[in-house]
C-alpha cells in the first residue's frame, strides 16, 4: 500500500452508485421491462406436505392470454442417489426446491408456473391448474421431526439404518471432553431454542428473462452473484453456461438469502416455451412463505470451568431446521460456537433436520448466531455462579495468534481479546444503570462475544484507463452494501488520482471473469485484493510508457500522485507525465491501457466481535426495549469507515429482531400464518437506539490494505447479549427466542 499519500483509504467518500440510488434511477430487478414481455406467476402448494399424483394444466393452457405453462417436467431432474454440488448447494435439492417434484414439502412450495399477457391472467391461469394431491401428515418443529413416529419427509433418507428426518451430521472434536468435564469445578448444561427468521431484504426476488430463437438466454435479476445465477440456471435447465448471460441488477438486500435462485430457471423455461421475454416478481407473501429463512435450532451446550473461570471442556449438540429439503448450515454452530475460546477439550455435533417449512438459505454468518446464543448464555451463567465479571471470564479464555482453531487452521493475527477489552473499558460498560427506574420497569445489561470465519475465494476485476485519463473499474461482485465505494477508494489511492475520477461498475457474466458470490464477508477482502493487483499492473504499464517516451529504463520511472516521474537524479530530468497525458498518448504508444486480474484469493482471517447492551423490560406488558448498544469488532482495516460501521449497525439490528420479535407462526395445517411485514415483526426505526460501533483496526497482514471481512460477525453476539441483559434485568433466563411480549409475559406470569 502507498503509505505516502493515503488520501482515500479510510475516508468516507461518496459512493459511485449513490446519486442513482437517492434519485430513484438505479435499476433494480423489478424495474426492468422488455419489449413484448409477458408475466410469469407461480402456483404454490396449499398444503404443508402432500404427494403430487398428477398435474393437469390443460385448462390453464386453454385460457386466452396464456402463453406457456411449466411444471416439474420442464426442470432438469437430479436423481436422489447422486449428489451434484455447486458451491455448498446440492442440485438434488435445488431442482426440487425450484419446482416440487415427488412431493410438495411446505406451504408455498412451487408446483407449476404460467406465463401470460398480464399478471392477472397468469394468476387466473394458475387457479385453473388441477393438481391431484395426496395430503400427508406434516411436521413443523424439530422436536417433533426427530421423534421415532414422526411423519417422514423423504422415505429414502436413512439415519442410523432407519428412515429419518435427520439428513446430515457434522462432528468436530479436540481433546477428551469427558476427561475435561471431570476436571471442572463447575459444569452448566442448558438447552436453547431459536426460531427460523427471514433475511428480510426489502426487495422481493425478481427477474426478467429472454430466451432467444437461437437458444441464447439473457437473465436480468437480483442476486448476490450473477455467476451463481448462470451456473444454477444452466444446471436446472440444461442450457450451456456459454449461452446464458446473467446481468446483475442492483440488489435490494440479500444477507445470504439471494445466494440461491428461485425464479430464473422457471422464467427461462416459460420464455423458451412462449417465445417471449418473461418477467417474474414475487409478492412479499411469496418471499416469506417460499424463500430463505435461517434455520431454527434446538441446541444443548455444556461447559465446564475451573473456579478461576478457565474453561476446561465444552460440548455442543445443535439440531438445525433445514426446511423441506436438506442443507442446514451446520458449520455455523458446530465450528463457531466455541471458536473464540481456547478450550482444550471440545465435542461439537450438528444435525440437519428436515421438516415441512421452506428450505433454509444462508443468512448472515449462517448458523453462528444460534450457536453463540447457547454458548454465551451458558458462559454468563458460569461467570455468575463463580462470581466473576463476565468479560473477565472471557478474557481468561480468549484465543490468540498461534492457537489452533477447532475447525482446523491456526489463528494468525487476530484481535478478539482487544474486542473484549475495548468493551470492558468502554464508558458504556461502567455507566451506572438504574435497575428499577420506575414501577413495573426493570433494566439490565448484558455482554456476549461472537466469531465468524470470513472468506476469500474467486474474484475478477478489470481496471481500464479511459482515453481522457479517468479510471473505470469493473468487478464481478454485486454491491450489496457499498463495496463499490471501498474499491474506488483503493484504486484511487494506488493510482494517486482523485476519488471522483474512479468509477466502479458491476460486470455481467459475459463482460468480467468468474467471480464468486457476494457473501461470507468476502467481497471487500477479495475485490480489494484483485483490484490492487490489477492497479499495480496498470501502474507498471504506465511507468513503461513514460520510460519509452523519455527513452529510459522503466525501473528509472516512479509513479507518484497520479504521475510518472523520473526516479532520482540519475534517471534524467523530465517533466512529469500525468495519467491524463499518458492516456492521451496510449493508442500511439502501445495501445489501450488496462488489465484484468482474476484470482482465488486467500488469507481472509476470521472476525471477532464483543457486544454490550442495556435493555428495559416492561414487566406488565412483556416488552423488551433496547436502550443502548455498543458493538466492538476486529475489522482489520476499514477502507470506507462509514460503510463498515453501517455493516455493524445493520447486523446488530437484525440480531435485535432475531432476539426479540421475529418468528414464523404456523396454523394447525402447517401453513404460514404471518406472511406479511405487519405480523412478521422486523425492527422499525422506533424500536431501536443508535448503535455505537467500535472498530478495532489492526490490519490483516495477509491483505494489501489489511482488510478483514466485517459483514457477518455483528449478527453473532446480539441474541445472547440481549438474553443476558434480560436476565440481568429480571433474574429470569430465557432459553427460547424470540423474547417477544407474549412469551415474556407468559414466562413472568409462570414465574409468579
Amino acid at each position: 500500500m502507498n503509505e505516502m499519500s493515503n488520501k482515500w483509504i479510510g475516508k468516507n467518500t461518496i459512493r459511485p452508485d449513490g446519486a442513482d440510488k437517492v434519485t430513484g434511477r438505479a435499476g433494480y430487478a423489478a424495474d426492468n421491462t422488455m419489449p413484448g414481455m409477458v408475466w410469469g406467476k407461480v402456483l404454490r402448494s396449499p398444503h404443508a406436505h402432500a404427494r403430487i399424483r398428477s398435474i393437469d394444466t390443460s385448462k390453464a393452457e386453454a385460457l386466452p392470454g396464456v402463453k406457456a405453462v411449466v411444471t416439474r417436467d420442464d426442470i432438469v431432474e437430479f436423481p436422489l442417489d447422486k449428489s451434484v454440488m455447486l458451491g455448498i448447494q446440492d442440485m438434488r435439492w435445488m431442482c426440487r426446491n425450484v419446482m416440487a417434484r415427488e412431493k410438495a414439502l411446505f406451504h408455498g412450495h412451487a408446483v407449476a408456473a404460467v406465463a401470460a399477457i398480464s399478471e392477472e391472467v397468469a394468476a387466473h391461469a394458475c387457479s385453473l391448474i388441477e393438481v391431484d394431491y395426496e395430503v400427508l401428515p406434516h411436521v413443523i418443529e424439530i422436536e417433533d421431526a426427530i421423534k421415532p413416529d414422526a411423519p417422514i419427509l423423504h422415505e429414502w433418507n436413512q439415519f442410523e439404518g432407519k428412515p429419518s428426518n435427520i439428513a446430515g451430521t457434522m462432528v468436530l472434536k479436540t481433546g477428551d471432553v469427558e476427561a475435561g468435564f471431570a476436571e471442572a469445578d463447575i459444569v452448566v448444561e442448558r438447552t436453547f431454542k431459536t426460531r427460523p427468521v427471514h433475511q428480510g431484504y426489502i426487495e422481493p426476488h425478481a427477474c426478467t428473462v429472454s430466451y432467444a430463437a437461437d437458444g441464447r438466454v439473457t437473465i436480468w435479476s437480483s442476486s448476490q452473484g450473477q455467476f451463481m445465477v448462470r451456473a444454477m440456471t444452466s444446471l436446472l435447465t440444461g442450457i450451456p453456461q456459454s449461452d446464458i448471460r446473467a446481468i446483475p441488477a442492483e440488489i435490494g438486500g440479500g444477507f445470504g438469502g439471494k445466494t440461491i435462485i428461485y425464479l430464473e430457471p422457471v422464467a427461462v423455461m416459460l420464455s423458451k416455451k412462449s417465445g417471449r421475454p418473461v418477467k417474474m416478481v414475487m409478492t412479499r407473501e411469496e418471499v416469506q412463505r417460499a424463500t430463505g429463512p435461517a434455520p431454527g435450532s434446538l441446541s444443548t451446550v455444556k461447559i465446564g470451568a475451573k473456579k478461576d473461570g478457565t474453561i476446561v471442556a465444552a460440548k455442543g449438540t445443535f439440531y438445525l431446521q433445514a426446511g423441506g429439503l436438506p442443507g442446514s448450515p451446520l458449520r455455523g454452530p458446530v465450528g463457531c460456537s466455541f471458536a473464540q475460546y481456547a478450550i482444550p477439550n471440545i465435542l461439537s455435533v450438528g444435525f440437519d433436520v428436515v421438516s415441512n417449512r421452506s428450505k433454509v438459505a444462508a443468512y448472515r454468518a449462517p448458523g453462528a448466531p444460534l450457536g453463540a446464543f447457547a454458548t454465551e448464555c451458558v458462559l454468563d451463567e458460569i461467570a455468575q455462579a463463580l462470581g466473576l465479571d463476565p468479560l473477565e471470564m472471557r478474557l481468561k479464555n480468549t484465543v490468540k495468534a498461534g492457537d489452533k482453531a477447532i475447525y482446523g487452521p491456526t489463528f494468525g493475527a487476530i484481535t478478539f481479546k482487544e474486542t473484549v477489552e475495548s468493551i470492558k473499558h468502554h464508558p458504556h460498560y461502567s455507566a451506572p444503570l438504574d435497575k428499577n427506574p420506575r414501577p413495573g420497569v426493570k433494566r439490565g445489561r448484558g455482554v456476549a462475544s461472537g466469531f465468524w470465519y470470513n472468506a476469500g475465494g474467486e474474484s475478477s476485476v478489470q481496471v481500464n484507463i479511459t482515453e481522457d485519463g479517468n479510471v473505470l473499474v469493473t468487478t464481478g461482485h454485486p454491491d450489496v452494501g457499498g463495496s463499490r465505494a471501498s474499491i474506488s477508494n483503493v484504486v484511487a489511492e494506488l493510482l494517486g488520482v482523485d476519488h471522483a475520477r474512479v468509477n466502479v461498475m458491476i460486470g455481467d457474466t459475459q463482460t468480467i471473469g468468474f467471480s464468486n458470490l457476494t457473501g461470507g464477508s468476502r467481497v471487500t477482502f477479495a475485490s480489494a485484493l484483485v483490484a490492487t493487483s490489477a492497479t499495480e499492473k496498470v501502474i507498471g504499464d504506465l511507468r513503461q510508457r513514460a520510460a519509452k517516451i523519455w527513452n529510459i529504463d522503466a525501473e528509472a520511472v516512479k509513479w507518484q500522485d497520479g504521475m510518472a516521474l523520473p526516479a532520482g537524479d540519475n534517471a534524467g530530468k523530465f517533466p512529469p507525465l500525468s495519467l491524463k497525458e499518458l492516456a492521451a498518448k496510449a493508442n500511439e504508444m502501445g495501445g489501450p491501457i488496462g488489465t484484468q486480474v482474476q484470482l482465488n484469493t486467500t488469507g481472509a482471517d476470521p472476525g471477532f466481535a464483543t457486544h454490550c447492551v442495556d435493555v428495559e423490560v416492561d414487566v406488565d406488558l412483556g416488552i423488551v426495549r433496547v436502550l443502548r448498544y455498543t458493538a466492538a469488532q476486529d475489522v482489520g482495516r476499514a477502507l470506507h469507515p462509514a460503510y463498515v460501521e453501517g455493516q455493524i449497525q445493520g447486523g446488530v439490528v437484525q440480531g435485535i429482531g432475531w432476539a426479540l420479535s421475529e418468528e414464523y407462526l404456523y396454523d394447525a395445517k402447517g401453513r404460514v400464518d404471518n406472511a406479511a411485514f405487519l405480523d412478521y415483526r422486523m425492527p422499525v426505526c422506533s424500536d431501536v437506539p443508535m448503535i455505537e460501533p467500535v472498530m478495532l483496526e489492526i490490519p490483516n497482514p495477509k491483505h494489501p490494505q489489511g482488510v478483514r471481512g466485517v459483514g457477518e460477525a455483528p449478527i453473532v453476539p446480539p441474541l445472547a447479549a440481549i438474553a443476558n441483559a434480560v436476565h440481568d434485568a429480571l433474574g429470569v433466563r430465557f432459553y427460547e427466542l424470540p423474547m417477544s411480549p407474549p412469551k415474556v409475559s407468559a414466562r413472568l406470569d409462570a414465574a409468579g
Binding site: 434519485t23 428480510g200 416478481v281 453501517g646
Partner: protein
Amino acid sequence: MSKLHIATSINGEPVEFLADPSASMLDALRGPLGLTGTKEGCGTGDCGACSITVDGRLVCACLMLAVESEGHEIGTIEGMAQGDHLHPLQQKFLEMAALQCGICTPGMLMASRALLEKNPDPTEEEVRFGLAGNLCRCTGYDKIVRAVLETAAEMRGAA
C-alpha cells in the same frame, strides 16, 4: 373491466393515463407511468418503500387506487432533486452513508422530507417515530436518523 382515464399531476407536471379500476397507484407509477423510483417491498403498506405524497401528505402508493389520483398532486422520488441539484436530504444521505442496498432509500427520503416539512426541528425520537413506517434492513437506521437530524439542522440554518 375497461380502463378509466385519469388526469392528475405528478411532480408538478400534468399527466394523463389509463388505469384499471383495481390497479394501485404503485402499479400505475411503476407500469404505464414508467416511474420505477417508487419501490414495492410488501404491497400491504407495511414497509414504506413505495412512499409518495398526495397533496403533500405521505401515502403508501400500494394502498391507494390509481384512480384516486384524479385531480390531485402526486409527488414521487423522481421529483425530489431539481435538475442535477439534489435535495439537501439526498445530499446528506450520500455524505453520511445513510443507504446501503438502496431499495428503501426513495421511500425513506420521501418520508423524511414529509417529516421535516411538518416538523423542521425534530428530536431523535420524533425522527424515529416519523420514519417508523419505513423498513430498512441494512443500516440499522442509525445513519438514516443522523442524516435526517443533520439535514434538519442545516435547513434551519439556511432558512
